[in-house]
Amino acid sequence: MSAPITYRQPVSRLWWIRKRTYFLFVLRELSSIFVAWLAVFLMIMVVAIGRGEASYQNFMSWAASPVVIVINVVALAFLILHTVTWFALTPQAMVVRGPGSRRALATKEVNVAGRWVSAATVVRVGGRLPAAVVIASQYAGLIVVSAFIAWLVLR
């Protein structure tokens, strides 16, 4: 029997503007470019500081130019989007267990020093922390790290 005739539905080049969720996803992917830019910007600054006062002043006047300011404002907006969206997705991607979890024994195939063997393995079950707790703790961590860096720079 020959294969039946079917119609293959084409994927539009603009598939990512068809739905708000697709568009947000593409923006989130795009945000990584701006995160990389800010990392490069920081490195340029560190190098400039390392080269001495004159070099640092040069860097500062370059950073104050309208083009760089516009780029950095856009980059900041994307950085916030990046942080908020990835923090929101963490509880879905990771199981974080709290004090309510319990140990259970299961025979599993496990990788021991690169070799797969059947072994009685301790697995943790239950006690999964609610998404809100995971997200809140990430923001708490962000605040702590930011405060430390602010203290380091401003003291």
Partner: protein
């Protein structure tokens, strides 16, 4: 409430170079009528040649998935009144070849699904006479969510990656692999990893998350895939760090 609503339904008759067209049908608008009821009205009273899949009418068989106003939905669980005054557009699920009208070809999924071995794998020869494998309610809870999949393929229709890269093994298959991996009775992790660690496996996913949003059974395939990535990454690190002889 108006007493009728227009349904704009995709029609396609297989023939070389044939393309899908849209047909408009006016169906009664009743508060308790689903989109599927509307399609059945068309088939019974207007055009008997309209083809579509359905079976249980209660959201468990997973046959009646279609795109309603561009969203993958179970048509038995989607109400016409939610789209009043209409019109309401009904299309075949995206990302699948159309066989006829609203019927799509699901062979691709049917060949991919067994590749992830969605069953309990054991290496011992325990028979029924030896007794059952015991499991606590907590251990069941670990994978129960992922076992609710009804293979309706709404997640494949929602996934832009599957549309762009048809080799991607897809959300439902990976969620089912995770369901068995998390089962304390199962020992098949390694066998599934071999398939899922490939580029067409979990790494094809970029976490769009649309599969989870459209899932009528709240399976969360996107969550399953990201959790699997973590496992696969640990494997890769292990393979990189350990000397070849020890592997």
């Amino acid at each position: 409430m108006a007493d009728s609503i227009q349904m704009q339904v995709t029609r396609y008759t297989p023939a070389p170079d044939a393309v899908p067209t849209v047909a408009n049908y006016d169906v009664p608008l009743r508060k308790d009528w689903s989109v599927l009821d509307g399609l059945n009205f068309v088939k019974d009273h207007i055009d008997g040649s309209l083809s579509f899949r359905w079976s249980c009418r209660m959201g468990i068989c997973g046959s009646c998935g279609m795109n309603v106003e561009g969203e993958p939905q179970l048509t038995c669980a989607t109400f016409l009144s939610d789209y009043a005054p209409g019109p309401v557009r009904v299309e075949p699920l995206t990302n699948f070849p159309i066989v006829r009208d609203l019927v799509v070809d699901i062979d691709d999924f049917m060949t991919k699904l067994p590749r992830v071995k969605p069953w309990i794998i054991r290496d011992d020869d325990v028979t029924v006479i030896d007794g059952e494998y015991l499991q606590t309610p907590e251990e069941l809870e670990e994978y129960k969510q992922f076992s609710n999949c009804i293979n309706c393929m709404l997640c494949y229709a929602a996934c832009p990656i599957y549309g762009l890269e048809p080799d991607f093994i897809g959300p439902a298959a990976i969620a089912l692999a995770e369901r068995y991996d998390l089962d304390t009775r199962d020992r098949g992790q390694r066998e599934r990893l071999d398939i899922l660690i490939e580029k067409e496996g979990v790494w094809g996913c970029t976490f769009v998350g649309e599969c989870t949003r459209v899932c009528p059974k709240h399976v969360d395939p996107a969550g399953a895939i990201q959790r699997y990535k973590l496992k696969a990454a640990q494997e890769n690190v292990m393979a990189f760090l350990l000397p070849r002889a020890a592997r």
